[in-house]
């Protein structure tokens, strides 16, 4: 039986009083890649953002249910949200590097934690850029503006930046959807490499990507009431060859979405 690092219990998110996702209960296994798939609008990103409490930033959002990280409810009142976000990192759909140098992008996370020693920062920057398979391409231009990099490189930079706070979990919200096929392939290879150390949860609307890359898959769907629910969760093999729910099968075989 797999070890569970993240778990939701009856998780519901309301925007302005209306539920966007409802009753989600799922378990994310440690050091595996878990994909969340489903048609657009089913609440995949909303669910993902619960794991690092990014929904807190939306004033009209309200969360009920529990989100457990190593057994601790992330939404309990004595939890330090800043520490949560350091331990659970996020990479966004459109690469969003800071308009600073490549070095400063990666160093930002450690810097705001108080690490000022130049050599320590140098070491962290190199380590994370290597882990993101970007070091060789940028090692001679660390102080160049990050926006001069290509889209795929920027996204890998964002991954390196997220790794710099030494997280245990990496949340990825459609990380390759804004990239070309070659860059996408590089990101997927990188994900498999990173899964050796980190737990990865990826939201994707690309089924083939989910099938290629993930160990476990969660399928979400919004009903006529436009509320997203978890339909099925299981090993990727099983979801894609022997789905248990009719709706999962319809989605996989392309009947809708």
């Amino acid at each position: 039986m797999e070890e569970i690092v993240l778990e939701t219990q009856n998780l519901t998110v309301y925007y302005d009083g209306r539920p966007a996702i409802e009753g989600i209960s799922m378990k994310i296994p440690r050091r595996r890649i878990t994909a969340i798939i489903g048609p657009s609008g089913c609440g995949k990103s909303t669910l993902l953002r619960c794991f690092n409490r990014m929904n807190d930033l939306i004033p009209s959002a309200r969360v009920t249910g529990r989100v457990l990280f190593e057994g601790l409810d992330l939404y309990s009142s004595d939890v330090d949200v800043v520490e949560v976000r350091r331990r659970i990192g996020m990479v966004f759909q459109k690469p969003n590097p800071f308009p600073k140098s490549i070095y400063e992008n990666v160093a930002f996370g450690p810097r705001i934690q108080g690490i000022r020693d130049r050599r320590k920062l140098d070491e962290i920057v190199e380590r994370c850029l290597r882990a993101a398979a970007l070091w060789d391409e940028v090692k001679d231009k660390l102080h160049q503006n990050a926006l001069t990099l290509s889209g795929g490189q920027q996204q890998r930079l964002c991954i390196a930046r997220a790794l710099a706070t030494e997280p245990e979990v990496l949340l990825m919200d459609e990380p390759a959807s804004a990239l070309d096929p070659i860059a996408t392939m590089k990101i997927e290879d990188l994900m498999r490499e990173l899964a050796r150390e980190y737990t990865i949860v990826i939201v994707t609307h690309n089924m083939q990507q989910a099938a290629r890359v993930s160990d476990y898959t969660a399928f979400m769907l919004a009903g006529e009431d436009r509320v997203g629910r978890l339909i099925e969760f299981g090993p990727t093999q099983q979801i894609f060859t022997r789905p248990r729910d009719r709706r999962t099968e319809d989605y996989i075989t392309g009947r809708f979405g």
Binding site: L57, V82, R85, N96, I112, T165
Partner: protein, 285 residues
């Protein structure tokens, strides 16, 4: 001539009139500038810049007015800019959407439309009398700060709003606190816009006359101000004083002073445009 052609001609005529109206103001402006130049260019000289005002037009200069303007502007910037930027940050980054926030925003909107002389009355009672600052540079600067605060806040808010949300999200996701996000990511990117807004607000302040007259800035100062507590005069007040005299000599002096004032304004606005261009290239999207 058919009905259709008549309508077309009417349209063309109208277009001509509308264009004339559009350039009318510009023509008046050109006329005004030419007139000022005609009367004032001959007056400009080094001694004009370095002499004190005098009973004799030939000897009158703008030294004290110019120094007073510099002093007042510097102090106004010192008070208004941090206050205005701070208020803008609060309203854009922290304020919840509730009645108090609406009240603050309504206040700012309204204050932008209050006549400047009313600020003079406020400054007179609050700064000159209640706080006993007398008719000093400090009182004048504080009064002008309140005057330009709404402009500063509005311009700064726009600069902050232009920073994309994705930048803030990336910083939050790395475990930054709200102030860290603002200080390290949002402010540096919004800086060119804020700077431009600051220069525009100050260029508005530099031309203000009425509130400073009301707080008691004098019209005849024959010394260099040496501290914020000194009495003072400013360039627009000096212009006002000379214009109000009957002698043509003083009118020429007024025109010269106007040329200096316009030159200062032109350089400030030019600087704002230049800085905006240079700094924006660093943060290209």
């Amino acid at each position: 001539m058919g009905h259709r052609q008549r309508r077309e001609m009417l349209g063309k005529l109208f277009e001509g009139i509308a264009l004339a109206a559009t350039v009318f103001g510009l023509l008046v402006l050109a006329f005004l500038l030419l007139d000022v130049a005609r009367r004032g260019l001959g007056v400009l000289s080094w001694s004009f810049l370095t002499s004190y005002p005098s009973r004799f037009p030939e000897r009158a200069g703008i030294r004290s007015a110019l120094l007073g303007t510099i002093w007042v502007m510097a102090l106004t910037a010192l008070f208004a800019v941090p206050l205005g930027v701070a208020a803008a940050i609060y309203l854009e980054e922290y304020a919840p959407r509730n009645r108090l926030t609406r009240l603050i925003e309504l206040n700012i909107n309204n204050l932008a439309g209050v006549p400047s002389i009313i600020y003079g009355l406020l400054g007179l009672e609050l700064f000159v009398r209640a706080m006993r600052l007398e008719r000093s540079i400090l009182a004048g600067a504080l009064t002008l700060s309140l005057l330009i605060l709404p402009i500063l806040i509005t311009a700064s808010r726009e600069a902050l709003r232009a920073v994309p949300m994705s930048l803030r999200e990336a910083a939050f996701a790395l475990g930054a606190t709200r102030w860290q996000v603002i200080r390290h990511q949002v402010l540096p990117v919004a800086f060119p816009g804020i700077l431009t807004g600051m220069i525009l607000a100050l260029s508005r302040a530099i031309g203000e006359t009425a509130p400073l007259i009301t707080i008691g800035a004098l019209t005849f100062i024959a010394f260099d101000p040496k501290s914020p507590f000194d009495k003072f005069t400013v360039l627009p007040i000096q212009i006002f004083n000379w214009v109000s005299r009957p002698q043509a000599g003083f009118h020429a002096r007024a025109a010269g002073a106007i040329l200096v004032l316009l030159a200062v304004l032109l350089s400030m606005n030019g600087l704002a445009i230049y800085l905006r261009y240079r700094l924006q290239r660093r943060y290209q999207w």
